[in-house]
Each structure stands twice: as C-alpha cells, then as structure tokens.
Amino acid sequence: MSYIYYPGCSAHAGGRAYDESIQAIAPKLGVELKELEDWNCCGATAYMNVNEVLSFSLTARNLALAEKENKPVCTACSACYTNLAKTNVYLHKFPELKAKVDTALAEANLTYNGNVETKHFLDVVVTAIGLDKVKSLVKKPLSGLKVAPYYGCQILRPLSGEKDPENPVMLEQLLEAIGATPTKFALKTWCCGGSLMGTNDAVALRLCRNLLMNAVEDGADVIAVTCPLCQTNLEAFQPRVNAMFGTSFKIPVLYFTQLMGMAFDMPDRSLGLARSIIPLTVRSKPNPEVRA
C-alpha cells in the first residue's frame, strides 16, 4: 500500500520519535510512505486566528502538491490531519471559498481539484493494513503492560464520517493486537489543551492534569498517543503540571507506533525511545493469567 506522507512540522522537532518509529514500522507493515515534496506548514490552529482564506490556502497547497502524485495522503499528526480533512470538505462544500483558494494557489501555478484522500496513520494501520497483519508481526507481545489509549480530540473530528467520534475503539484493538492491556480511560477523547499551551497555560495544564490523573487512577503504566502535540503536552509539561497542582506524576507517554515497534522487537534506537523525557522502564510483565 502506498501513500504520500505528510510529516508536519513537529516531525522534525518535538515529534521526532513519532516520525522515526513510523519510518521504522511502515516497511514491516508493507506501507510505502513517500514524503510529500516541498510541503509547507498546515497552519495548525494559529492561522485560523489570522485569516480564514489564508488558513485554507496553506493546506490546499499541500493537497495540490499531493494531487500530482495521485495517491492518498497520510499524516500522523492529528492537528495536520484535521486541517487536511477539513480543507477537503470545505472546498467541496463552499464554492466561494474554493474560488478564493484557487486564485491564491494560481500565484504559484498550482491547482487543486479536490481528489486527494486524507488518512491518519492510525486509521491506515487498523483499517487498511488490518490487525491480522499486525498480529503476525508481533515477536514480543507487551504482555501485562497496561496502556491508557489516548485519542485526544482532533483525530476524531470534525469530519470523521464513518468512524465513531463518541467511543472509538481502534486504538484499544490495536493495543490488544500487540499483546498490551488497554485501560478504560474515560477521558480518552478529551482535549489536552495543546493549542492553549503558551497563551492560556492555566487551562491547558488543568486539562493535562485531568488526563494524567485518569490514566494513573486506572493503573496505566504508559499513555499511548496518536499526535505529537498531545505527546509533548502530556509528557514534557508533566513537571509543570506537578508544580502547579502539587502532584507527582511520572508516567511515560509513548506513540502507538513506538509500542508497535517494541512488540515487533525492533531496536530501541530505530523507535526513538531514547527521546523520551520520562522513559518506560517496564516493558512487559508476567502474564497474570499464566501465573495464576
């Protein structure tokens, strides 16, 4: 299966381990990822604060470049994914907006006809590749490892269509396929406040605290995430959460792709595990059922 890969800006910064682990596991899964040539920033949430047409035009440039390749686009960043998916839908639905975006794109001799399919990497793994394939690659099941399945918000919205934005189970199924035990994690689709960090810290840190608390109370050893912004928020800001709320959280936050690579018994280095600020020390535990 072949995709155009849109890494997004954090793939070269805060989310490097995500990018590394994706590059490591993709060939095993039989997924060919070709990086989108000369891609630009999707605008995250900042551009919508400035100018709407501009925000859609930035994403449309990426879609226009991808359309030349005639393959679906895949990204692993939930914020990028939302922007790509949203732009597609809006350009289709609102001709007036599309006309403006077309005019802007023409400045760089680009056109976008609206024919690019957009996918999140989690969806590619679970839906396109399938869990049977994933299971067949597992060499070291993560037995006994309790993982909080964190979806966050933007991966499921605003246009997830066929998928269930209320109670998604994709990530849980994937975690089970690699031998781990997903925890209940009632807040699994709650926002981590990523876009507020920096401009409204008090609110963002409280959202993080709630999530960390929920994960720890469920007895999770690690939180699995699907977005580099969630990862940075939940992991790198843990010390600040602790300072603000007098808590002592120290729970690792790994990308689902890193956990997959661990179960496939791939070298730590290839999975960017050394980039964890809070490393995962327990990898697997004796299977309680076997012991009993």
Binding site: N49, V53, L156, P158
Partner: protein
C-alpha cells in the same frame, strides 16, 4: 445569558454588521438555526473556565452584542477541540465561530486578544519565512515578546526537549518559499481580514 442583558437590548442597539461578519464565514449562517439546547456548553472541556458558555456566545452573537462577545474570555479559552461542532444537532460550526470571533477581537485591538495575537503573529511570520513552523524559535520569540519571566517555566520544558534532540535550532526554508509567499499574500488579500 443573563435575562437582564437581553432585555436591556433594543432592536436598534443590535449590531447587524457584527452578525453579518459572523454569517460571512463558510456555513456561518447556520447560527440562525441554533435551538439553544446547550449541547455545546455541556460538551466543552473548558466551559468551566469561560465567563460565557458557548451556547451563550451563540445567543449573544445572534443578538448582535458585539462588545460583550468580543470582550468575553470565552473566545480565548476555546481550545479548538471541535467537540461542540461534532455534537451540535443543528450542525453549527461553533469552533469556526470562535475563530472568527478571535479574528474580530484581534482586529478591534481587544486587550485579551494580545497573547494570542502575538503568538499567531510569531507563528505566521515564521511560516512566511521558512514555509514551516520552527518550534524552538516560535517558543523563544513568543516568550520574549510576552512574558520574559514566564519563560522560566518553559525553560525547563525546552531544556528537556533539547536534551532529547527534540528541539533543533537550525532552520532552512522550503524550496518554493517564494511561491508560498505569493500564495500567502494573495490569500490574505482575498480573505480581507488583515
């Protein structure tokens, strides 16, 4: 919304221009269909920190209460999580409404808009320059402009990211950065929102 507020508002006080601006976004006229069910407020993960709930904001926009809406802290508390948007039974794009309100507040030079304005400006300047966002530069520049002391809280975070190779300092523009800049300039002009 306080009943009092609404009663005090006469039709002649309604800011029709304000409503027009909000209706002008793609799908913006959907707010006419709001049934005030409160699903948005109930689902919002940060409504506890808002001085007006999302439902109240929609009602106030419809009542043309420009100043009250644009000075509310609600628009700066919205985390763009889209929960309200997926759940609204009337398919109102509340997240997009929050975005236009942010833009209007910035344009009106609202005090509360300052932090987000500096953040967005720093972000967009970087993208114009390189075509991509540079997290390290974004955070340092933003912090220096807004809150040099607050930067201390971020310093620890930054250090950890740097130590684990997650904060590269070098930056190179994309190949067709010129073309991208032309798109940006044109889009900005067409968007007409400054």
């Amino acid at each position: 919304m306080m009943l009092k507020d609404r009663k005090a508002l006469f039709e002649r006080d309604m800011d029709l221009e304000f409503m027009k601006e909000v209706h002008g976004i793609p799908g913006g006229d959907a707010i006419k269909r709001c049934i005030q069910c409160g699903t948005c407020s109930g689902t919002c993960p940060v409504s506890w920190a808002m001085d007006k709930s999302p439902r109240q904001i929609i009602a106030m926009v419809r009542a043309g209460m420009r100043d009250k809406v644009l000075t509310s802290n609600t628009i700066w508390t919205c985390a763009s999580c889209y929960s309200c948007t997926v759940r609204c039974p009337q398919e109102i794009k509340i997240t997009d409404v929050m975005y236009i309100l942010k833009r209007l507040a910035m344009r009106a030079g609202q005090k509360k808009a300052k932090a987000a304005q500096v953040f967005s400006k720093t972000f967009t300047d970087l993208v114009r320059r390189y075509g991509r966002n540079q997290e390290a530069q974004l955070m340092t520049r933003y912090m220096l402009k807004t809150n040099p002391l607050g930067a201390i809280g971020f310093a620890g975070v930054g250090l950890n990211l740097f130590r684990t190779g997650r904060m590269p300092l070098g930056a190179k523009p994309i190949k067709d950065v010129q073309g991208l800049r032309r798109i940006i300039d044109r889009a900005q002009q067409l968007g007409g929102e400054g």
